[in-house]
Amino acid sequence: MFSRAYRAAITVPPLLWVAVFLLVPYALLLCYSFWSVSSFQTIVHSWNWENYRELFRVDAYWQTLLRSMWIAARVMFFSLLLGYPLAYYLSFYAGRRKELLYQMVIIPLWVSYLVRAYAWKTILGSDGVLNTLLQYVHLTQHPLDFLLYSPFAVVLTLTHIYTPFAFLPIYASLEHIPRNLVEASQDLGASPLQTFWRVVFPLSIPGVVAGATFAFVLSLGDFLAPLLLGGPSGIMISNIVVSLFGAAYNWPLGAAISFCMLLLVLALLFLSENLEKKWSFR
């Protein structure tokens, strides 16, 4: 096999990279979360739980966290609602157009996030494309103001951005279902609908769980969409973290919130991995 030196040469650099640029910063973050800020805007290295207490004492923080989770949950729901039928159609019925359609789902991923977020801004704004059209056809008299700078805009944009992330694992799991299982089901008298619910869907659950996790976790930590399109009512927890590390200059509290989010996400990933294992049979 490979020599020790060779194995070391290929494993050490990436390990070092992860250690220096990921584990050390996380450790620092953890330290910061137990420190505090003096009235002279300097970091005081005295260990205490104050930041974590603050987080649960001040309504704005945990309410924003809850709202972020609620937004992420809706993004997850709509991404699955759009991604699953798309993946199902592509995998089972697209035939020769499969490759082309697959590329069309992937291409938007290459477009900058900012461009896509701004695109929604021009669509949803008070003199944007949608409002102009609605007034032109006399469906409304005045521009609808809930369209932009609202949780609605955030959910819409994030759903648009993260649907491909939900689509991909679902598509992969559907592609892995042996087609003779579908035939066996029909052969045993199951209608196409029964076949879907009794065979195809159960076997695609690992993909659904992975897709749901992607959509939820990625949108939970998002701060650009709420920043650009959320307005005051659409603020998410990451925006608070950004401002704490920036203008507010309260790194310790920002670190504490970040660390809570990290734990939450790790718990979710752990849960989703277990669910995926429980539902995979190969």
């Binding site: 003779n180 035939e183 089901s185 052969d187 045993l188 199951a190 049979f281």
Partner: protein, 346 residues
């Protein structure tokens, strides 16, 4: 077969694009019959089975089952069940749930489902593994479960797509016998697809030999072996000597061989089974030759005898070491079966 016809395949043809896979297939399958569709890979046998099951639609022709037209129905409306080549058991369901699947989607009562599943599992001796997942049981056991899952629905017709090809030789022979006795027991019509001529001979009431999308011959194993209609059939089923002869005035001649026949003048092709070629003693068509090659087949040896002028005959002889030297052979004229030349097909 005098039993009433259950399945009637009428002029079925199938092509994928320009590629013609089946041509002009007409076949009557009797109630309770064990019919084997035999053919090499690419002969169209699996396609024919898939057309009967409803996974493919025929390009032309009709299929009738018990006075009802079958081919316009989707697979889930046909009283036909299939045992798939790779078994196709549902990996997320237990053995019992796999077997009960067809009954469940038919909305039968819970009690009826469980009694019938129990019976079916007992029939294939899988009761002990009812709660196992398919990935936890062996290939042979998966095969039994697949069989139970199909039979529990009491189909009028059971299709089996090379169900034994994934098993090792011993288990395969055992399953051939079990499958045959099971078929007699349940009395369901079996249509069995295989490329293994020995398997076909052991199990079938009748064999339908398919060659490049057309039926070559449909007959009982005994008849197809003893009275092959074409050169292809004679060569595909068992070993044979094909003699290219010229008939003139009631005598067929092939190199130095000559025997009486009742055929019109002209070229003719004969199939002569190796076991009908014997060492000379008494009456018969005689020829001398030298032993060229010997292949050990257990109780018998297959010898290749070079008779000169390019004529090489295969014969079966009692097994013994080192057959060599000059021999004199003979066969009876009636054992040379006239066969049609098989046309080239593309």
């Amino acid at each position: 077969m005098n039993a009433p016809s259950l399945l009637s395949i009428r002029n079925v043809a199938k092509s994928f694009g320009k590629n013609s896979v089946l041509r002009n297939i007409s076949l009557e399958i009797a109630e309770g019959e064990f019919l084997t569709i035999l053919g090499e890979s690419g002969s169209g046998k699996t396609t024919l089975l898939r057309i009967i099951a409803g996974f493919e639609s025929a390009t032309s022709g009709e299929i009738w089952m018990g006075g009802e037209r079958l081919d316009p129905l989707p697979p889930y409306r046909r009283r036909v069940n299939t045992v798939f080549q790779q078994y196709a058991l549902f990996p997320h369901l237990s053995v019992a749930d796999n077997v009960g699947y067809g009954l469940k989607v038919a909305n039968l009562s819970r009690t009826e489902i469980s009694t019938r599943v129990e019976q079916a599992l007992a029939m294939v001796k899988m009761t002990a593994r009812a709660n196992a997942k398919p990935s936890q049981i062996s290939g042979g056991q998966q095969q039994r479960v697949a069989l139970a899952r199909a039979l529990v629905n009491r189909p009028r017709l059971l299709l089996l797509d090379e169900p034994l090809s994934a098993l090792d030789a011993n288990l395969r022979r055992q399953m051939q016998v079990e499958l045959k006795s099971l078929q007699r027991e349940v009395g369901i019509t079996f249509v069995f697809v295989t490329h293994d001529q020995e398997e076909a001979m052991v199990m079938s009431d009748r064999i339908a030999l398919l060659r490049m999308g057309e039926l070559e011959q449909v007959a009982s194993p005994r008849e197809i072996y003893n009275r092959p209609a074409t050169a292809y059939t004679a060569q595909f089923i068992g070993h044979t000597n094909l003699l290219q002869a010229q008939v003139q005035d009631g005598v067929a001649r092939c190199q130095s061989l000559a025997w009486k026949v009742s055929l019109p003048d002209g070229p003719a092709l004969f199939s002569l089974r190796p076991e009908n070629v014997r060492f000379a003693s008494g009456d018969g068509v005689r020829i001398r030759g030298t032993v060229q090659q010997q292949a050990f087949h257990g109780a018998t040896d297959l010898l290749r005898i070079d008779c000169g002028e390019g004529l090489v005959l295969s014969m079966r002889a009692a097994s013994r070491e080192n057959w060599t030297g000059k021999v004199e052979l003979q066969f009876q004229p009636e054992d040379a079966i006239p066969v049609r030349a098989s046309q080239e097909r593309t």
